[in-house]
Symmetry: C2
Subunit: 405 residues, 2 copies
């Protein structure tokens, strides 16, 4: 990319033009009075949108509504809540999710069919609809409401995750922004969390699904916190077109730039999600090179990032390359054992299929940082991929053994 | 089965006639002087044998030797060690594994091609061959050496795992015995640990592989401790025929009984492995009914037993059926959402696709036992399967973050 992507400090979903958001403490999340838990995001007009949904075969009620409302490739608004996932709630759950879309539509003056619904929190609980009704009535959307939106979708997240970048093309400044939530139940095949991406670029509706899919495969879908894919996961991309300029369809010279911007924001959010994994003390970034195919690269990287034995070794500052290779061996990725290599914090510990001498104490000290990089060379081809995760800590166990009781 | 299986108290690999074993403290395991870590198992004569090996694509050196030595379906002896896995050790590792077979052969007076090698312990370390050579020379095998064998293959195991049963047929008493080791790096596709099964039944060599495969799929392969398949896993079944009687081939009326006995011992060992999972405080048994196929039943059961969120909920005495269903939804098993059911400690908590009222405090107390049973009905067919695992505890993290450093 020749034209640079410029970070938007404190940017988020309302950084691109044409989006407003607002949030309230509706009391959906029990025992957390005053905490934002219900939020709206609205575009000025109906706009092109695409989404990727969970692969879990028991999707939450909100996803059914969102999928239907996105069938025409357009949407205008989002209603999202934390505290209750409205998943495994049967027909009552479906009715509640539909009513949420209607409540948002009435409040924002848009069509209910143009509202996406997202719920995250405890599985199996019904939505407290009285509180949702009262809460929606209190939400006021504004052009600086992105921060509230990002906070209102947090569950066990300890920080809000937001990012935005801008780039110029033909005298016009375009912005891509986003936020994400999720710190547990995070694994493959749909990023296993919620992410909302917005842009003011006038993207051709036909180009949007492919652009999103491609981005998600390289970012959110390469994230693993604990191996469980949530029933409620969704990544949504909305393009308001409010920045103006020609519609960006296939072949438009600015499309690669837009793709790079969406990818940049998605990877920034993925890294923030990984770093805030439940109980995590470290971000784990795994890079796999030398794979026979992109699928091999992705699955090997994700196998390493998801291995409990790798994750506990990372927690314990243990340069245990054996566990890295065990995970690689389990991934199904093709490899040339005689060319295999592993580097930990950029120190070669296994090279050309054999252990390489290294200073274990020094490397253990290097592992005691908040960011750990593992690199594997499969020696079997040219494809590369990254995956992101975090260490597994006693705190993860504590958080998850005390969730509902 | 009409004829009963009778437990052999304190039984193990030398309970069947025709097997002897012995072990020594060879000092392979550093920092554990006096601990048994090298062992031999020998049949009186060459006998029929079958094995199932790890699916990890970077198998340990011992596996290459064992696979070659089993190619003719016969073997006579086993040399096994703990402390060092001899995995990811390149050509030196291959040479060491082969020498171990030769050392055992010389000591026992058998052919080196009839010796199976098994190594378990730290990955990436070379075998201390001087100690192995000296150790083998000290081992004396005897008919009551099974207990020493079981102890010598332990790594982070806190208890030895052994079992044996006998049954009668046509006036002859047949015995099946076994032992297993493993408490971490345990997951699908090869049981991800070592297990040694012996019988004195005169099993037809052609029937043995099928009998073993079938048993392993229902027992060891349904065990998951932490999702990582070790490079060193193997289940070996040796049939000495020393009890006498007709050769048991396909169609022999005693074969179902033998199969039941092998299965009984395998499941008993699987349960012992699960209960002794690293850091575990509880055995988790998951039963899935109503699956469309056996594969669906197995994968759903294993998905639940392997879910970190289920495992932490079990640790926390949290009757969190939502996490059970999330894991089911991620397994890919077909299900009928309107007929789905979940029971925890035999209490229905989800029935006919909807939450069922239950006393959460009472159920939480019921979960505070050393054995937790989860039952899922997929409502999609007639197939059933079990899986076994354990809870995920802060102790698991502690054990695994301090393994080599």
């Amino acid at each position: 990319m020749e034209a640079p992507l410029i970070d938007v400090p404190d940017g988020g979903v309302t950084s691109p033009r044409g989006f407003r958001a607002g949030a309230t403490a509706a009391g959906i999340r029990e025992g957390a009075p005053g905490r934002l838990d219900l939020t709206l995001l609205a575009a000025e007009a109906r706009c092109a949108a695409a989404a990727v949904f969970t692969t879990n075969s028991l999707p939450g009620a909100a996803l059914g509504v969102s999928r239907a409302h996105l069938a025409d490739g357009c949407t205008q608004a989002v209603i999202a809540n934390s505290g209750v996932a409205n998943a495994l709630t049967g027909e009552q759950g479906d009715r509640d999710a539909l009513e949420m879309a209607q409540l948002a539509a009435t409040r924002l003056g848009v069509a209910a069919e143009d509202v996406i619904v997202a719920s995250t929190g405890v599985t199996g609980w019904f939505m407290p609809m009285e509180r949702v009704r009262a809460g929606v009535g209190r939400i006021v959307v504004s052009a600086d409401g992105g921060d509230g939106f990002a906070h209102a979708v947090m569950t066990t997240d300890t920080v809000a995750k937001q990012a935005a970048v801008r780039f110029e093309w033909d005298g016009v400044t375009y912005t891509v922004g986003g936020c994400a939530k999720g710190s547990g139940m995070i694994h493959p095949n749909m990023a296993t969390m919620l992410a909302f991406l917005t842009t003011d670029a006038p993207v051709d509706g036909a180009s949007l699904p492919g652009l999103l899919r491609e981005t998600v495969d390289d970012s959110f879908n390469q994230l693993t916190i604990d191996g469980d894919t949530s029933p409620d996961d969704m990544v949504l991309l909305m393009a308001s077109g409010a920045a103006g300029g020609d519609p960006m369809g296939e072949g438009h010279p600015a499309l690669p730039l837009l793709r790079a911007a969406v990818r940049h924001v998605s990877i920034a959010l993925t890294r923030k999600l990984a770093r805030d994994g439940e109980g995590a003390t470290k971000l784990l970034e795994v890079r796999v090179d030398g794979a026979a195919t992109m699928n091999d690269a992705r699955s090997a990287a994700k196998a390493v990032a998801g291995s409990l034995l790798v994750k506990t070794a990372v927690y314990g500052n243990d340069p245990n390359w054996g566990r890295v290779l065990v995970a690689v061996g389990n991934s199904g990725a093709r490899l040339d054992a005689s060319r295999l290599g592993v580097a930990i914090q950029d120190v070669d510990v296994f090279r050309a299929g054999a252990p390489a001498p290294f200073d274990a104490s020094a490397l253990s000290r290097a592992l005691a940082q908040s960011e750990v990089r593992l690199r594997v060379d499969l020696g079997a081809g040219e494809a590369s991929a990254n995956a992101w995760g975090c260490d597994l800590t006693p705190e993860y166990v504590r958080v998850n053994s005390e969730y509902t009781t």
